[in-house]
């Protein structure tokens, strides 16, 4: 017969004020299989724990039930106490007499009876508990960071500085992301390149960071602490171990009119190119789509120019495999192009730009060397209109959310324009100004008050071109809806920040969830902002939602700490509350019939196929097996299994029945 110890806590008066705790202890003490039952003012206190430990030894208990607060609060406390007294911690259970009973009911007979029932259920359950061992998984202490924008750069550096190895993969030929394209940054107006470039170089030189540019994730398998990443190294057509980065080939390449991605289409580049002068690594790749040789089989001028013979024509994409213990996703965001806006000309007007294009115009490294000039005719615009919320907060366009960064960068753009074009007139059409952040509101006020930017509250219905001017049809809603028409020389749309292209496919490869707009989803909106639903995969930066640099960097450091914390263990200890498929002696092996319904049901891909083989190696049966590293114990498979072959350890069907039956047997 079982020897169960029951310990009822008063929780000060939290429980005892409404529940007759003495009666609970008394009645439970009379239950079959209960060897010892007491009540005490604070079971969680030192003396309280000592009572438990002593009772375990004295009565040789094989199960403990503590009737107290929520297990979320003190289950670890009481399980530890039991373990110290030599009892398997999973033989200790808690009945929640506080949140589930005393706090939610009036004082009275019925309340006490409910408390008795709650304890009784757990006594019956504990009788069926089996000792469990926590699961230990080894940890590969190397991180994979995907995306080399400021988020990926920061996360890589922070992890590398804790002494762990990092593999950073970047899709483009250089790291840097959007930040490398920005002119000056709000709210301090410091030059973006100047603060970013040193970090980019640090990444390239860090002994703990292995950088793969022009690379993408092919697949990721495994589980927390034990992932295998397959990485596609796209053929650069240039041998980086010999290339000196002299740039002679770039000078000579005859294909010169390719719109430059770095300059957001405002400048051009060659087919063999380095995206921008400060690129890391500062070595070229050949864009095979536009290269004469790959297109038509002739040219090879770069090969002739190259002094060290670095051009590799026949190089193919290479797939490499890396073992990592954690992944940081930092693939950033994208912005909508002007072609997304029918009412602003479907992108057909050259002088209607996106905010990102304006950054390039305002940047000293840009196509106009920092002078604000119209792409159409090179003239300096005397009247400029900025349209905020272009596409954002626009359910009709499928983007109901606020892109968060545009209010601030629009104020910055108007300010930069006023600084550069002294006799210029700038107007900002806005719906609300969202300037929450340190020194942000002050920054916007400065634009309005000191730089005399004309802020008009209202959306713009349309923009059209006439006689070389862009006619902007707006409204001032603060004047009761007065129409405002401006003949502008340039219009800048603060276009919505959206998920990067390919983010959905990437999320599927990694089994992380994403929101309806394809931004990656955090595990908890408040308390787990850098975790994903998949253990061991973390988020940093604008791939989770549009955000500015300070927030991106903060998040990246947060993700890095999570990785470092994970790597501080040699092994991962996990609760054994996971699914198991039963195993029986031959010739049965298991009641599992191998239908693999569980496999289709499991959201974490934790079901594996196990082949049962005879001595001679011939296959007897294939049955399901749960990968204990991947299983999160959600129990979905249990509900799906038709032959009832799967159970969640610690919550087996038998245990739950026992609890329910204890209520019915009264």
């Amino acid at each position: 017969m079982s020897k169960i110890g029951v310990f009822i806590c008063h929780c000060g008066e939290n429980i005892s004020a409404t529940v007759d705790v003495e009666r609970v202890a008394r009645e439970i003490g009379g239950m079959e299989g209960v060897a010892h039952a007491i009540d005490y003012k604070y079971m969680c206190s030192d003396p309280g724990q000592t009572f438990i430990k002593e009772a375990v030894k004295k009565y040789d208990l094989d199960g403990v039930v503590v009737g107290a607060c929520s297990p979320r609060m003190h289950e670890p406390t009481f399980r530890r106490a039991c373990a110290e007294a030599g009892l398997n911690p999973y033989l200790c259970e808690m009945a929640n007499l506080r949140e589930h009973c005393s706090w939610v009911h009036e004082k009275g007979e019925e309340t006490t009876e409910k408390a008795i029932d709650l304890v009784k259920m757990l006594v019956e359950k504990v009788k069926k508990n089996n000792p469990l061992e926590s699961i230990k998984v080894p940890v590969t202490k190397r991180a994979l960071v995907i995306g080399g924008g400021i988020a990926g750069i920061q996360a890589s550096l922070d992890i590398a500085n804790t002494g762990h190895k990092v593999i950073l993969i970047e899709r483009d030929p250089s790291i840097g992301g959007h930040m490398s394209q920005l002119s000056e940054t709000f709210p301090t107006l410091d030059c973006s390149q100047c603060i970013l470039t040193p970090r980019m170089v640090e990444v390239a030189q860090h002994p703990n960071i292995k950088l793969y540019t022009y690379a993408e994730l092919e697949s990721l398998e495994g589980f927390i602490g034990n992932f295998t990443a397959k990485i596609r190294l796209k053929a650069k057509s240039v041998n980086y171990s010999t290339c000196t980065g002299c740039g002679a080939c770039i000078q000579k390449c005859p294909v010169k009119k390719i719109p430059s991605e770095f300059n957001a289409g405002l400048g051009t580049r060659t087919a063999i190119y380095v995206p921008f002068p400060q690129a890391v690594p500062n070595k070229p790749v050949i864009d095979r789509v536009n290269c004469n040789y790959y297109k038509r089989g002739a040219c090879k001028i770069c090969e002739k120019t190259c002094q060290v013979g670095s051009i590799e024509w026949d190089k193919e994409d290479e797939i490499i495999s890396e073992e990592v213990g954690a992944v940081v996703l930092a693939t950033g965001f994208d912005v909508k192009g002007t072609d997304f806006f029918p009412e602003y000309g479907y992108g057909k007007y050259k002088d209607v730009l996106t905010g990102l294009q304006f950054e390039r115009l305002a940047s000293a490294s840009g196509p106009t060397f920092g002078e604000i000039r119209r792409p159409s005719d090179g003239a300096i615009p005397k009247k400029i209109v900025f349209i905020a919320c272009a596409g954002s907060r626009d359910p009709a366009k499928g983007i109901p959310y606020c892109s968060k960064i545009c209010c601030m960068y629009t104020a910055k753009h108007a300010m930069l324009y006023q600084h550069k074009v002294h006799d210029g007139e700038s107007t900002v059409f806005y719906m609300d100004i969202r300037a929450g952040g340190k020194n942000y509101e002050e920054f916007v006020r400065r634009a309005i008050e000191e730089d005399t930017v004309n802020y008009v509250r209202g959306r713009v219905a349309r923009v059209y071109e006439k006689n070389g001017k862009l006619i902007v049809k707006g409204v001032d809603t603060l004047l009761g809806g007065e129409q405002v028409e401006i003949e502008a020389d340039m219009v800048v749309l603060a276009t919505a920040g959206v998920a990067n292209c390919g983010s959905e496919q990437l999320a599927q490869k990694l089994h992380v969830s994403y929101d309806p707009y394809h931004f990656f989803a955090e595990a908890h909106p408040k308390l787990k902002p850098v975790e994903t639903n998949t253990a061991g995969i973390f988020l940093a930066g604008a791939c989770q939602a549009p955000k500015d640099i300070p927030e991106t960097v903060g998040m990246a450091s947060g993700a890095a700490v999570k990785v470092a914390a994970l790597f501080s263990n040699n092994e991962l200890v996990r609760e054994p509350i996971i699914a198991v498929v039963n195993r029986l002696a031959p010739p049965l092996y298991s009641t599992c019939v191998g239908c693999f319904m569980c496999e289709t049901a499991c959201p974490y891909n934790a079901i594996e196929h196990e082949e049962i083989k005879a001595r001679d190696g011939s296959l007897i049966r294939t049955i399901a097996r749960v990968n204990s590293g991947l299983c999160q114990g959600c129990g979905t498979c249990v509900a799906f299994c038709r032959s009832k072959s799967i159970d969640i350890q610690g919550y087996t069907n038998e245990q739950v029945y026992a609890e329910v039956m204890s209520l019915l047997n009264d």
Partner: protein, 186 residues
């Protein structure tokens, strides 16, 4: 609560959720007649959002609802896809029902009535009859004095109305809809 009640009422009659309007003004910015209206379309939406009787009567008595051409520029561009023209249709019928009519409504209602009369009796539009009736209703005897004869000369006006055969159905349609007061506010 008066406010909530009015707003739900509007929604049940038109399907338009006025509370969704966030007052961006894009409708007004693109409305071809906003400057001629007492209240531009976004302002009409704001007045409706207050849900007060006072503001509702203000709208019914304004020329905005009569000048709206149902061109749907506003709806086409509204980020919240608010069907202002549909709301305007409804407000017009309500203004007639409550008999709160801005002077600008007179010629417009007269025109619509003359137009509908013509269809009711013949099934088709009898343009000459329409013009004559419109003039009689509005006392604008001299209007279009030159256009009508010119139209006639260019073969653009029938002297006699064209009539469809199934005029019974036409009569029934009118009797069961616009002449049936119960359906007026449907």
């Amino acid at each position: 609560m008066e406010h909530k009640g009015k707003i739900t009422d509007l929604q049940s009659h038109t399907g338009v959720e006025v509370m969704r309007c966030y007052q961006c003004g894009k409708c007004t910015a693109g409305c071809v007649l906003a400057t001629d209206m007492n209240f531009p379309p976004s302002y009409v939406m704001r007045l409706l959002q207050t849900g007060t009787k006072e503001n509702y009567i203000k709208i019914l008595g304004s020329n905005s609802i009569w000048l709206c051409l149902n061109c749907e520029n506003c709806l086409g561009r509204c980020p919240m896809e608010i069907d202002i023209p549909k709301m305007m249709d409804y407000l017009r019928t309500q203004a007639i029902k409550e008999n709160i009519l801005h002077p600008d409504s007179k010629p417009i209602i007269s025109f619509h009535r003359s137009f509908l009369d013509s269809i009711k009796y013949t099934g088709r539009l009898y343009e000459l009859g329409l013009i004559a009736e419109f003039k009689a209703r509005t006392f604008r005897v001299t209007q279009d004095l030159t256009i009508a004869p010119a139209m006639f000369l260019k073969g653009k006006l029938h002297l006699l109305p064209e009539k469809i055969k199934d005029r019974m159905t036409m009569k029934r349609i009118f009797a069961k809809t616009i002449e049936n007061v119960k359906t007026e506010n449907k």
